[in-house]
Point group: C2
Chain length 206, copies 2
């Protein structure tokens, strides 16, 4: 049994979808950013970083989306969510997820989370203006070089797909021209049609 | 046989140390940031992101430090660089490395790489001023909560240790008060005494 702490509209959706795809037995608990619940003493006991997602397992608590996604894939090998028997292919999947985490998500975060990295209002405004370019550059590389199709890793659906879907959800608000990313948008549509994706989205919006 | 593309003073050192610890058969090739070699057509063929590190393997090229570190551990199981037989412990190691990559390294990068996320000189200066606080906060959490001791994951040395060592190397230039991080600095000293660390550092400075 797993318990996922999430906030709607965040990268927690990637792990949520992966749990649903795996057929895992899980519950979810919403963390309210509006009341700063992520920095409440109770939540900091769960995740001292004050972020979502957090995944409560029988063994303890996990954080960090790439690590959680690999763990979900390894916990449910029958769901075939990662190439677990091929360490090079597994590393490629991990590299894709690491790129989303440390480059693409970070670029996106400069739209709303400027105070993590600067102090002046003028800097926050400058960061916001750069987001279409920086997120757009990350996605342009995904479009041209990284998304093999039909799924990220090729014929086999994997833990890369819900993560890409999650960040693609943010592209419109990030000011990226979706028309420049036909393959990414095609991937997004096919993802949206999967029952596990609909289930996770419904659970977050319910 | 592996070939590691690196630049001295970058996070490539983490994978370099891991290769040395594993007893891998590897060569290294330096990428010169001063001449912008990372964005040369030749290097972009190797890594279209224009970053280091890149690891050339018999199967193809890998990028992204957390993925490369896990791959090195899985390629040399006898070196016991990760808890490969325990998926939860492996996920914890991956979570630590993901935190270094997407939070601590990213905070550090705002000292020199402001143009990735903003356009104005005033923003770059503002970002630089924030680095002691943002990198310091990341390391404070490592000091208090994450570094188990004597190694990151406890008694067993792992792929988390060279990565932490690498980012600790940057703390002085980042303006973080080292006296506030006695456990991290103790870890750094014990790392510096390891032959594989000395070998990797010598190869990068040679």
């Amino acid at each position: 049994m797993f318990k996922l702490y999430y906030t709607p509209g965040t990268c927690a959706l990637a792990s949520h979808i992966a749990l649903a795809e795996a057929g895992a037995d899980y519950t979810t608990e919403r963390v309210d950013f509006k009341t700063n619940q992520q920095n409440s003493p109770q939540y900091l006991e769960i995740n001292p970083k004050g972020r979502v997602p957090s995944l409560v397992t029988d063994r303890g608590i996990l954080t960090e989306t790439p690590a959680m996604l690999a763990f979900i894939a390894q916990s449910f090998p029958q769901a075939k969510l990662a190439p677990l028997d091929d360490i090079f292919a597994f590393a490629q999947a991990q590299a894709f997820n690491s790129y989303l985490c440390s480059t693409v998500h970070v670029a996106h975060a400069h739209r709303m989370r400027g105070p993590r990295w600067a102090s002046e209002e003028s800097s926050f405004a400058d960061m916001k203006r750069k987001v279409p370019e920086s997120v757009g550059a990350g996605f342009a590389l995904i479009e041209r070089k990284m998304l093999r199709g039909p799924w990220v890793m090729g014929e086999a659906y994997s833990i890369c797909d819900p993560y890409l879907f999650t960040l693609t959800q943010w592209l419109g608000a990030d000011g990226v021209d979706l028309a420049t990313l036909p393959r990414v948008m095609d991937h997004h549509q096919r993802m949206a049609a999967r029952p596990a994706v609909a289930k996770a989205l419904a659970e977050e919006q319910g």
